[in-house]
Symmetry: C2
Subunit: 239 residues, 2 copies
DNA sequence: TAGTGGTCTAGACCACAGA
DNA sequence: CTGTGGTCTAGACCACTAA
């Protein structure tokens, strides 16, 4: 029974948090149909309108899909809706490029200054670091340097497969991803990047700096990428 | 008195359209306080909740600002909220760059193939075309080629000042701007661009291709830009 | 036909801003 | 204090889907 008596937080927000937790922990599995609005309202002891507001929030956060006459369903982190959320590089034909991922190096240790700054870590915190290259049609086009807080992803470096999206990876650790910011600049390709991508050292290349947050605002992943945009473009949506 | 009897469109959507028209035509001027939810509900013969939904839509479209205990106010097209909506180039310090605009050339005539394609024009339609350069701290950093449907902006080419934002310009013609898409690529600077920006011909440069829509979905403006990103970056928000 | 979410109503109380 | 928007209630009817 949710109430506002013991919290300044609105009831529909509290309810959203509880429902999100059920999704994050896997209590509600991907593809599962949720109880109807009316049933959820009864369970939480709130009015149907309030339950509806909580569900609408989770739909906007891409965690649920609702269809009139059908029901409310949990989106898989591997669904296009969630996995391709941050994939903004497309072919000149307009198709999203995901590409295969080849991991080059995995390491873990005390966070460096850049990582502490971007991931809001303290000086004693550690970070996982993954370096990989993305291939499209077998040809490498992007080198990535991924950093994640070790506290959020304990034992991450022991994994074998990093090919999945950050949405899937995070959810395995009970974290739901939310918004992200990306910064784009043009810069000269460093030697190590140029070698992997088959470019000349210093060739102009797109640099992408992306920070992904959890739905509660905590920084979850910082990704620094060098991309060769030949026959491709970066698509931005200005709501 | 709005009703659903004569339209499949939801009442709150119909009401949004009417309110948006009042803003577009200037019947409600920027800075004006709207009647309260309850008064608007009475005027339109709907329940307060329905009126509220219409107002929420317009707030999401950046046309209104609502503040509890204060009221609902019309946003000026020149307000940061609306004018800087599409300004994604920032200084390395993170401040939005607007810059001064210097118009190089204004012309009007039958739309070329690219304009017809991007602005959804028919073969007999005309387009206004404006070429200008943007300066930051007195230094040119971006060349723009702007195209707009002549039918939407009659007499545009007779104007003197194009320095204002597309939101302001469009509203002078009774058009409210909504979403936009942008495509970014890296390419060699053409001679004319390089000369204006003080770069070598063929130097790598950011190309931005942006299409702005009206809130009803019609294409309103197509902008092709070449930008020198030195000491700057492009900021994208991945909601 | 039963059950779902989408819309809509007509109220209530609360938090907040300003006179 | 008054009036605003934010939240919340407890219903109603409708459009849609699938069995």
């Amino acid at each position: 029974m949710l109430t506002r008596r013991f919290s300044t937080r609105a009831i529909y927000q509290q309810m959203r948090d509880v429902l999100a937790a059920r999704i994050a922990t896997g209590e509600w599995k991907p593809g599962t149909a949720l109880p109807s609005e009316a049933d959820l309202a009864r369970e939480f002891g709130v009015s149907p309108g309030t339950a509806r507001k909580a569900l609408k929030l989770l739909e906007a956060e891409r965690l649920l899909t609702r269809r009139q006459g059908h029901g409310t369903f949990v989106n898989a982190p591997s669904s296009d809706e969630r996995a391709l959320r941050y994939s903004n590089i497309r072919t000149s034909g307009g198709e999203r490029i995901v590409g295969e991922v080849k991991v080059l190096k995995v390491s873990e240790g005390p966070a460096n200054e850049a990582q502490r700054d971007r991931l809001q870590l303290r000086s004693e915190d550690c970070a996982c670091q993954i370096r990989c290259v993305r291939l499209f049609n077998g040809k490498p086009f992007m080198v990535e340097e991924i950093s994640m807080p070790s506290t959020l992803f304990p034992g991450l470096t022991e994994r074998e497969d990093f090919g999945c999206s950050i949405a899937s990876l995070a959810q395995e650790f009970g974290v739901l991803v939310g918004g992200a910011e990306e910064r784009l600049t043009i810069g000269p390709a460093p030697r190590d990047v140029a070698e992997v991508l088959g470019l000349e050292v210093g060739a102009p290349i797109l640099m992408l700096d992306r920070l992904v947050h959890a739905i509660d605002g905590r920084p979850v992943e910082w990704r620094l990428r060098h991309a060769d945009l030949a026959d491709k473009y970066y698509a931005a949506n200005l709501g």
